[in-house]
Symmetry: C2
Subunit: 144 residues, 2 copies
């Protein structure tokens, strides 16, 4: 995708095939992926890329705000997705790890209140809801 090259230019990163590959996979998957997920998907595309390169690329992207991360509660891995332009919150399924993005932010006012109350200079916040998605509510016991 042509816009990916623009992103890399803007971020002052060289336009390498590996970086474009990582962007492609994240874009078409449109979901959170671990470094290892990306590694396997790359392999599946017959791409030759080492896991450490993936980690390095992801670090670059996070630093440049091209990619954002999330913590699933039940695993130690870090998950990555293309950064959303807009600030968003999440519904995270404790069974299948599916993530639903919520638009809009209900706590702007609250943030200002606590910021001044505690003289705390707030840079960002996370608001994540954990529970069970519609599918997993039905087939309760099946682990994915």
């Amino acid at each position: 995708m042509e816009k990916f090259k623009d992103w890399l230019t803007e971020a002052n990163l060289k336009k390498t095939k590996h970086r474009l590959l990582v962007l492609d996979i994240l874009y078409e998957t449109n979901d959170f992926l671990s470094a290892d997920d990306l590694f396997l998907k790359a392999k599946h595309k017959d791409a030759n890329i080492s896991l450490s390169t993936i980690y390095r690329i992801l670090d670059n992207f996070v630093e440049k705000n091209i990619v954002s991360t999330i913590n699933m509660e039940n695993t130690k891995q870090v998950y990555y997705e293309l950064a959303h332009q807009e600030h968003s919150h999440h519904l995270i399924c404790l069974n299948c790890n599916k993530v639903i993005h919520l638009k809009g932010c209900p706590i702007k006012a609250y943030e200002e209140t606590v910021s001044s109350k505690y003289r705390f200079n707030i840079e960002r916040h996370t608001l994540d809801f954990y529970g069970y998605c519609e599918k997993c509510q039905n087939k309760k016991s099946s682990k994915v």
Copy 2:
């Protein structure tokens, strides 16, 4: 502390000196501690306890809701504290990792809205604000 023994009884866990020690340290520290922090503090008290025991005790406590965990963004370690009775949110300093607990929850209504909108069965949520505490705003560059 006597009430700690009650907690263990309620949780159906044996009242061992190690478990009481971990509770003591968490109580008097009144802050988030990593497993290793606990290990060092125990050593400092001349207590003989192995790191793996600490991990096992913390796992027990988390399972029984005696202890709760938090993710600091800038480290891979898990941090633990005595569980607060009341649901609370956090202000987390990106410089010194200090955590301020916020009482009350501003998003009950929002939670219900998204829960029914997405037919998502929400079990719990996290709301954490990251930024710089009053102290660290002043002495900007000093890492703790």
